[in-house]
Subunit: 402 residues, 2 copies
Amino acid sequence: MRTATRPTMADVATAAGVGIGTVSRVVNGGVNVSEPTRRKVLDVIERLGYRPSHLGAALSRGTPRTVAILIPHLTRPSAVARLAGALAVLDEQGYDTIVCNVDTPEQRDHHLTALTARHRADGVIIVSIRLSRDWLAAFRRGSIPIVTVDAVAAGVPQTLIDDVAGGRLATAHLLSLGHRRIGFIGDTAARAPGPYLGFMSSKSRLRGYRQELAGADIGFDPALIRLGPHDAAVAAELARQLLRLPDPPTAVFAASDTQAMGVLSAAEHCGFPVPDRLSVVGFDDIESTALLNLSTVHQPLEHSGAEAARRLCALLRGAKVRPLRQQLPLRMVQRTSSSLLSRDAPGGGRSHLLPAGPAGPAGPEGTARPARVRSRFSPHAWRRIADVRLPWRLDCHPEGVM
Amino acid sequence: MRTATRPTMADVATAAGVGIGTVSRVVNGGVNVSEPTRRKVLDVIERLGYRPSHLGAALSRGTPRTVAILIPHLTRPSAVARLAGALAVLDEQGYDTIVCNVDTPEQRDHHLTALTARHRADGVIIVSIRLSRDWLAAFRRGSIPIVTVDAVAAGVPQTLIDDVAGGRLATAHLLSLGHRRIGFIGDTAARAPGPYLGFMSSKSRLRGYRQELAGADIGFDPALIRLGPHDAAVAAELARQLLRLPDPPTAVFAASDTQAMGVLSAAEHCGFPVPDRLSVVGFDDIESTALLNLSTVHQPLEHSGAEAARRLCALLRGAKVRPLRQQLPLRMVQRTSSSLLSRDAPGGGRSHLLPAGPAGPAGPEGTARPARVRSRFSPHAWRRIADVRLPWRLDCHPEGVM
DNA sequence: ACCCAGATTGGAATCGCTTCCAACCGGGGG
DNA sequence: CCCCCGGTTGGAAGCGATTCCAATCTGGGT
């Protein structure tokens, strides 16, 4: 008869008439074990229904083989993309991934507290959160490696984009189309009453916008700047305010695609056909922008998560990571939401939602050899690039991609 | 001088001149410890920078206090919403959550294998995946509680919606608007050569569609049914096929909002103004549908994740969960992408993207009292138990949560 | 017959905590 | 003055692997 509890390695050893060391060897790849012994042990394992204990192994080994990712506003498409990128790599590398969503500073600290404990995570990926000196010290004291994405941190490997340059890219694009009155819609770090996590990217993109305007000798008009909580509906309202101005902008640069979608909606609402009377440019190039034909600044979101994960894994292997600050390339992706400024404002209302064909969100990435998230695990990501040839066949399953 | 390794409980005990039992007691809420002792121990802990080992505690305790969630196609908005709902609850209940994304059957089995090991996860939430009898048995043998969302499984607590009813809801809506030729666009379970995970919901929604048509005495026209991989661009192409038919449908029901977005795009592309010449109805009511003014069948996505998590937690506390099959309510949300069938097909092109106001994704949930995910994070309830001022411990496990 | 390197094996020591039980302490009641 | 009880404490015994290192077993060389 069986014991009520699940069998342990010792049980297997006894039942097989061997030592626990031997069982351990068999379980872990069976090196240095004679074939007969191996077979015998395997049999017993099967018969007893033995499953190794993750905890036992982890404690003994001294590492949980787990990585945590701390990521704010998980539901935003950009966060999801990063998470997916990181997961694919971590999975492939054999790490469990514990996901910590953060919406408030308290939640952030709560998770950081947990993650700086011993043996909780081998390493941590921190997304879009700027850690205080104290937290950095806490990780260092616990010798828990960390990497960041979209956030700077002294002495920590970081995967970033140049938001200022991105802001310039978008603005330059609009300027090149002849626009002179360009609105900006972005996040405010409004702390009251909502949560305040202090994201910086919107601010930096605004900086880029101003720089580029200045470079073109266009005066900065504060009336064209609207900031609000990161939300499409809010952005729509802000855009409406801009469009109701006596001298409304002919183009709007939104600090994120989500906000740009709000702008599109507001334009529709206010009778400003896009792009004929209003050009719109977003930022991020999230999945849905392709369908909406939104011109946008592409940033390699999924790739950033994957890259951070890879760098963390390197750290965990004890390797050095160079350079500390990894900058990912940006690229302006023009679709049909932005066009040449036309002097005559046609009321017709030709919509920008035109070639709704197989437009994946932006083609192959630009200069810096994006090093596609390789993993066999993300057909989604591939579909994008693989210029979507319709149905059923487009789907590569790059098993053995190296 | 200090040892190179991080201090353990024994180190603290020694340094404080007490036994390890006492240190343990102090760390875990300080019951049955005299105030002076407690203070002394706390001091030493602070001085040594002691942090407890998650693994040590977990192994000793016999449970990792971790829950896993197995979820396919993590990047889809519907998956994200469910994940977020589950995370919020698990977080609050003090569980770590390890997230397993699944895009292929191999990946599914890989993760299932890991999750059925001992001491990996206390319980597992399984989303949209129908487990084979063998896997169910594996979980049972390991006495690892599981719950499912959007998937049936014998003897397992499941949180579902009635997809057939949903299909009928959408179809009935279109019928009530006078439509008679209604197209359907959904997922195919096309297994070759891509991944095949066998989701059922699209099929069930199609069933509902057919039932409703039959109920209205409308013959079923196979030409109006198009199936393809779940993807907006694919859906767009399928919709284009429908619209190019000699006798195109006046309305299309898409099995998901993502696909509906593709349909919208195709309509635009083919010059079928929505809703004037084509009504479109989606399914899910994901975030972005509100902005697009897409009529859709609302299902409580986030809530379903939260509810599943809650039920799993109940299971983990040893409670019974009733009823086994929990059915969440659906609701037709009419926006402006669907309207009365108009005999005259106006070429004007009034767009459906109208009142783009602050329209959150559908109002409060219908009948069943949605039970909002309560406080995403509420660390403080328990603290009064033990006014512990451990430097790291801002929170704790609601031991005796009822 | 003897010796030795190399291949297998066995199992004690460890990892860091929780738990349980025995031991100890101080004081009110008998 | 002794007993008993509740409040504190100390620390041994697990929890279930991994990892050594020593012991045993080969077979080939001398």
